[in-house]
Amino acid sequence: MSGAVIEERAPAASAVVRSPGPSPLRRLSRLTIYGALLVAAVFYLIPVYLLVLTGLKGQTEVTLDRMWTLPQTLGFASFTEAWDALSPNFLNSVKVAVPAALISSFVGSINGYVLAKWRFRGSETLFTLILFGMFIPYQAILIPLVQLEANFGLYGTIQGLVLIHIIYGIPITTLIFRNYYVAIPEELVEAARIDGAGFTSIYRYVLLPLSVPGFVVVLIWQFTSAWNDFLFAATLTSQPNWPVTVALNNLAGSFSVAWNVQMAGSLIAALPTLLIYVLLGKYFMRGLLAGSLKG
């Protein structure tokens, strides 16, 4: 199922299945089904509603007892205050997530190509051993990682964090590309080989042109993971190099920062990945399903 996109069923087949049956679930009228879906949608959207609502209120209306009342006057004071506090860290997150995503996708693409089309003895076992790396609790490597980064003068730096995201991204990026390339017919590669193409030209002229969706999936995945990361960043960087998640957590833990500013800050920190999700949801979904291996 990896790499699968949730497709609608073909209408012809579904026409037969969808005939109203006697099941208790099915006996519920369509209205009830839509009702249930709407209730669920409200549950998922309430935090967003609160975020936007709070962010738009003027400074005089942000008391907790008026949390749910609609804004009487529009004001962006919460956002400006949160942006003033978080903008340097927001920029740090960009500096971490963009290079990490770009480099990761190239590393993953090469690894995936080798593991899918140039298998060698033990390459499947190796692949499984690499995969283990994406499930480990990073706590199990954090202490020596700090020592190691300190030895190389990378501790506390943004470059160090980028490197960490690339390295611990190897399992997932390799997995996504490997499964993506496995799905490309062997005949295509074989035909190129007969035409005299070698390792480099098969990659360059056969696989790479077909790789765009794979790259989009991995870029989104790695950007999102690096942007949303907290554990590595909190352990390996210090202010002023904190990315936005660490800065937000710090802001939210401070008693001197008003709750509305925390809410506005949350929206700011969530916006880039949310935007990607809204624009490229299909690819985001593919990454998610690939991340769960085969299903």
Binding site: P137, F199, L274, Y277
Partner: protein
């Protein structure tokens, strides 16, 4: 064939750096953490004198870590079951030719795109007793204290339990902290949509003929769901349990943002304890021991899954 050999060398040399990186930075560092966990390094300067398994004995005897293990179990059970139930339910609703399916799917899944830190901060305010959900639906802040509730539900301290030697079960150590359930709500909010997506993809992969055949045989829809659909979804369920389970066993960001340790360590987890022990208190050996316990817990879940996955692939 000679030319292919040159390509083979090239292919292996291109993947070699990644293999080396994973070998050193995943397996090597795990081994080093394992080594640190057996040393005396419980102050700022490294001290690699061996103390055997003393650090493990220390943490397992420490009440806070015992509560962390309780919390992990309670959290995992509630979080995994609730996410599975909601995800399966929503997938089933969506798998019946719903108008606007794409919109609903996007709404259920969007929390996956945002950071646990953001989720934690927002839900902390949503569950503030004096405002938030209480205010929205008119609940009494004095009785609905959410994250600030110190209550731990446990079996009644009755004589029966004491009589059969199970009196310990009726203690806080074996109970369900109310505050922890608030964290469960936030985690379910974030991840149940993902389970929905897994199940929906699974449902779409079941050939209609199978259910149709059962229908022709006169099976009721409920029986078909119970005996045809659900068994066919078993691989999806396994995947979902593994993914959710391993997230739950290392949960950190969410609780740190929401409620770092909680009243009476009610929302404390091994990951929280590990970080504070190692990087606040500079007790690196003890922190490493906690990390190794976390790794062992997760490996017992993940390793069989990886092997199962590999077998499935080979048999294909």
């Amino acid at each position: 064939m000679r030319r292919i050999t040159r390509d083979r060398v090239l292919s292996i040399s291109l993947i070699a750096p990644s293999i080396l990186a994973v070998a050193v930075l995943v397996y090597g560092l795990i081994a080093w953490t394992g080594f640190v966990s057996t040393t005396k390094w419980n102050s700022l300067t490294p001290d690699y004198t061996s103390v055997g398994l003393d650090n493990f004995a220390d943490i397992f005897n420490y009440p806070r870590f015992q509560l962390d293990l309780r919390n992990t179990v309670v959290f995992t059970v509630f979080f995994v079951l609730a996410s599975l139930a909601i995800g399966l339910f929503l997938a089933n609703l969506l798998d019946r030719k719903i108008r606007g399916e794409g919109v609903f799917r996007s709404i259920f899944l969007f929390p996956m795109a945002i950071s646990f830190i953001v989720t934690g901060v927002v839900w902390k305010w949503l569950l503030t007793p004096s405002a938030g959900v209480n205010l929205l639906v008119g609940l009494d802040p004095a009785t609905n204290r959410w994250l600030t509730d110190p209550t731990v539900l446990h079996l009644p301290t009755g004589t029966i339990l004491n009589d059969i030697g199970l009196g310990f079960l009726a203690t806080n150590q074996w109970g369900v902290p109310i505050a922890l359930l608030s964290v469960v709500i936030a985690a379910v909010w974030q991840l149940s949509g993902f389970v929905m997506a897994l199940y929906l993809a699974g449902l779409r992969g079941i050939p209609d003929e199978l259910r149709e055949a059962a229908r022709v045989d006169g099976a009721s829809e409920l029986r078909i769901f119970r005996h045809v659909t659900l068994p066919l979804l078993t691989p999806v369920t396994v995947t979902a349990v593994i993914i959710l389970g391993h997230i739950s066993l290392k949960i950190y960001d969410l609780t740190v943002a929401m409620s770092p340790t909680g009243v009476g360590f009610s929302t404390d987890f091994p990951a929280t304890y590990m970080w504070q022990t190692a990087f606040f208190a500079n007790q690196f050996a003890r922190g490493a021991a906690v990390a190794i316990v976390m790794l062992v817990l997760i490996a017992t879940l993940i390793v069989p899954y990886l092997i199962w996955n590999r077998r499935q692939e080979i048999s294909r």
